[in-house]
Symmetry: C2
Subunit: 201 residues, 2 copies
């Protein structure tokens, strides 16, 4: 990630929000080859002491190649959209506004209790909005135990954290207002989300 | 990427569509450390002979660490959404439906003419929907030449291609219909897009 000072933040609330809204994100490892997998990643802990928890199917190449020795990368893309230079009052290049979190870390493998708690938490979070929320209890002990045998639970302990918010902070206010106005007039929900973020900054 | 046979496709039209709709995607390299950057990536060519073209700011750590020796990975995530197991007529786990393209490749550095053509193509594609589309001509030769000096153009020649469409193909029709129905009733545009893809399959 290219992280000029202007776009760098250490605001933990932003990190939390980006991870919460984009749990289905990218786990990247290197073991003779670059390997990646999409996984459901949750943040556990607070600003001073946190880690990422996730789980993979044991048949996943990343699960077979991941180890406790090598640093892995968890990557979360937040809201993002195209910014046309035709909106500026001067000549410049078009760009993309976006926010992103990168967490490099070392892997610790979960034991059965940790994996159960992780799956329980994940299920409760994602089932909460459903009409008839599924729970691990409803699935039954035998079924859950069988599923757990096919999964591998991972805690990723951060070694390096990067939070980027690239929202036209390098533009003067006049052009910022023009960009926000264009995004707010768009019918694309992502454009509106980026406009909201730009107003908040 | 975990790519069971059931979710694997070699349909070039799907690859093309996913890249076209998700040009702002992930370029991943390994050079002593995993490094990634978001970049605008375009497909150039046809099924039998194609490559990915992109450009980076020279100050980007990936631009400084990328070389012609090491394989890189271009990754494109298509439509994706949560599938609740509460929608099934039987006990099972919740999952995420999604489509993804991975292109491993070797890097060739663009010359000035190739870089100009790439930026021209990119600008024309992304400015086409604008009210007053910006063009490289409008920006002026001097400005464009200055911008080009700060950029590095890359052609990524594929060494390995993976296309995944995970859209509940492992469910029987009855449950597929239930999933599609739930997604179509959702107000989330992404849910509707996934439902459309599932109907097409």
């Amino acid at each position: 990630m290219h992280l000029p000072k202007l776009f760098k933040t250490e605001n933990f609330e932003i990190l939390k929000e980006i991870i919460k809204n984009n749990s289905f994100s990218n786990l990247i490892i290197y073991n003779e080859k670059i390997l990646t997998t999409r996984a459901m990643m949750l943040l556990n802990g607070n600003e001073n002491d946190f880690y990422i928890e996730t789980h993979l199917n044991r048949a996943n190449p990343v699960a077979r190649k991941i180890d406790a020795e090598n640093e892995v990368l968890c990557e979360f893309l937040g809201v993002h959209t195209y910014i046309s230079s035709s909106w500026y009052d001067h000549t410049n290049v078009s760009t993309w506004n976006y926010e992103q979190v990168q967490i490099y870390g070392k892997v610790e493998f979960m034991n059965d209790i940790q994996l159960y708690n992780h799956l329980n938490k994940l299920t409760n979070i994602y089932e909460a909005p459903q009409k008839c929320p599924m729970t691990l209890e409803k699935m039954g002990k035998e079924f859950v135990e069988k599923e757990m045998k096919g999964a591998i639970g991972l805690n990723i302990i951060p070694t390096e954290i990067k939070i980027k918010q690239k929202f036209s902070q390098n533009r003067e206010e006049k052009n910022n207002v023009r960009i926000i106005s264009h995004l707010e007039q768009s019918e694309d929900i992502m454009d509106k989300k980026v406009a909201k973020k730009m107003r908040e900054l």
